[in-house]
Symmetry: C2
Amino acid sequence: MAMRISRPRRSSCPIATSLDIFGDRWSLLIIRDLLFTDNRRFSDFARAGEAIATNVLTDRLELLECEGLIFRRPDPADGRKFLYELTGKGFDLAPVIVEMVIWAARHERTAAPPDLVREMERDPKKFVKGLRARWGRSSAGA
Amino acid sequence: MAMRISRPRRSSCPIATSLDIFGDRWSLLIIRDLLFTDNRRFSDFARAGEAIATNVLTDRLELLECEGLIFRRPDPADGRKFLYELTGKGFDLAPVIVEMVIWAARHERTAAPPDLVREMERDPKKFVKGLRARWGRSSAGA
DNA sequence: GCGGTCACTTGCTTTAAGCAAGTAATAGGT
DNA sequence: ACCTATTACTTGCTTAAAGCAAGTGACCGC
């Protein structure tokens, strides 16, 4: 709610800029949830797998909204809740996340479903296209 | 030098695992240097663009080596220096970094050379292949 | 040998993350 | 209308990480 300030950029390098925006332990996990699950509420994120502290979650949601990666709207079905959705800018992180999944599946012990990973590896662009179709339907192309 | 301990993994999710390995403000900048420049020495990284503190740099180099993304060897030409190089596992982060460059160039104000970005966008796999050729030559395929 | 460079260290301050408990607004049942 | 549970945060505190400035010992070129 309060006027949030985005993190200052360390340099004009695109990698450094990216890291200034989402280069922490939690931001990409929220994006992951929004891309691959139907977690859309505060409590969904809080309960998802890795146990983020609620104060950190609040902070990260504000930051991501401030950077234009997600947006927030009241849940029409429940006045206590908010729904968080990916913006186009946020959705465009899908290729980054897909490549991270491929990398981790190749080099680390993970729970990534092998079939899904093979599909990502075979044609990442096509895979992202499939995600985009679902995203377009759910968020009305924000 | 001391037996380094890798960060514990928060979950078996491939994204979470990736972030546990390189999800901080500096690791990917070191990988970037190793991919796109010929910075190979401690002082190169320390002086590169974003001014990392030397104690943090030491820590990050140890961690990246411990995770098997880079390796270290004495500089044959100067006994005070070490040369840091990407392993295959480290090089395989190239697609992740390429997608981050594309994202940042599209959505943020950066200094990424437009021609290079277009080349990345047109055919990311081919671009990575070009990088791999240079890497193979410099690090003898570690 | 000597002055300078190199890869780190050390000690300290500041910022961020993590934990546990609390709160105001709302939902849903009676 | 009233009561209880739930939800999205807050607050206060502790712990871990990042940042800063100043060292240190090995090693280079001279």
